[in-house]
Symmetry: none
Subunit: 243 residues, 2 copies
DNA sequence: TGTCTTTATATGTCTATACATCCTTAGACA
DNA sequence: TGTCTAAGGATGTATAGACATATAAAGACA
């Protein structure tokens, strides 16, 4: 008596179903410790690699938590997460029927980045970083300040593109395969230089979107988008996924 | 000469980086056919299972397309949706190991909502609306002001729950099946009353998350979360579904 | 020419084994 | 009593080999 279903699906899928079944029927409640891989091998009659693959994939999906040397546990139910979509500023402005204009403030290669920047890129040695600072206008009113730091090792010829017409994000997307993205949204008062560039007063509320992207293990870009709070809001309408 | 990096990461990660590198530098453009697993085994000097795992994970991330019996190809760059995850404030505070406390400021049934509220709920007739205003503290420092308007037709007994301990969102989630959610994020200066409740100065920058939910065609809740800009940021780390 | 069959190729799965790495615990020892 | 160390147990990675399965191409045959 193995406990595995007898459908035509591969074995590792059956092992996943077996685990999901035990979680679903309350047999293994939250934070419960699962039988070890070795135990599952014995009780289910499959090889350890097959069990391991099943558990690894469930862990990647966030259903399990694994600690090397300790065991496998049922993860807490996924936090009711809500997803916000952020779209490209140029497309958005054009979609609203407004006129878009971009102004390049800074475009440079930083040969010797400061420690803060090096830390952001997780560089251990001094490596050059490409840097751009662009202001986006909607009908000649500034709405977004786009500051980007790019790893020239991964993104070739970043500085050569035409920043006034091409969406920077589009360029990055097509030139580099991004595998991971981190976002941070906060509200901050405008600094003196930001206020000047965005035609607002110092300390006016701004929405700041920080974004960091990876290609594999390497940091590809570090970006900061500053929106004028009184002129802009990030928004989305979203159909939540089941469960 | 293997072409693999010599960092300390596992071999399958190096294989992934090798593939990503070839895609990134244009060596393998879109729809290009990759070398077969067998070829990669030969040229990289690792076992087939290792190559297979690397390619499988990249395929799961949407970077590659594989067809059994045919080969592996560079997937077309799919529009990369940028999503931000917003989690429950109470869980978040507790996850950080901080102490959470909630203070109920207002809890009432509004029998005759004003026109603004009626419009938000898309009511055509005068219907009552439940209203709660709660301040969330992290270690006795206010971080979030939670204002909720709830449709009592859909959410029964909303006012009866214990707002100081139960996560309001959890209650809503379990009592009503939400079918649609709309979000709006903006940065605004704190009003006088908000400043007083959040222990900040008037006009200090705040992050405002507006959320509206539907159950079918009917508006279920209208919520506004106000975060203290200097103390809080919405964040997420996310693996994009496809490229 | 058209269709069926065979063959080659590539990916998909599974096993048995080995070693690495991390954590916990029990025991030795000062 | 406290601390260091060793052992054991659990997961993490890697390999070689085998078989399964899907697809395309080449060949056999009508």
């Amino acid at each position: 008596m193995t406990g595995l279903s007898n459908t035509a699906s591969p074995l590792y899928e059956k092992v996943k179903d077996f685990v999901l079944g035990n979680i679903g029927n309350g047999n293994w409640p939250q934070d419960a410790k699962l039988p070890s891989e070795h135990d599952l091998v014995s009780s289910l009659g499959v090889s350890r690699m097959t069990v391991h693959r099943a558990l690894r994939e469930l862990t990647a999906q966030g259903l399990l938590r694994r600690v090397q040397g300790v065991g496998t546990f049922v993860a807490p139910p996924k936090a009711q997460s809500t997803l916000i979509e952020i779209s490209n500023i140029i497309n958005e402005i054009k979609a609203r029927g407004s006129r878009h204009r971009a102004e390049v403030v800074v475009l440079e290669r930083i040969e010797h980045p400061d420690p803060t920047l090096l830390r952001a890129f997780e560089f251990r040695t001094r490596q050059p970083v490409d840097h751009s600072l662009v202001v986006h206008f909607e009908n000649n009113v500034p709405v977004q300040l786009e500051e980007r730091y790019v790893n020239p090792e991964l993104v070739k010829n970043y500085l050569d593109q035409d920043f006034t017409s091409i969406a920077t994000y589009d360029y990055l997307q097509h030139s580099t395969p991004l595998t991971e993205v981190e976002h941070l949204i906060s509200a901050v008062p405008a600094s003196e230089t930001h206020a000047k560039l965005l035609h607002i007063r110092e300390n006016d509320s701004c929405l700041v979107l920080f974004r960091k992207t990876w290609t594999g293990q390497t940091v590809a870009t570090v970006n900061t988008f500053t929106y004028v709070g009184s002129r802009y809001a990030l928004g989305s309408r979203y159909l939540p996924p089941a469960r």
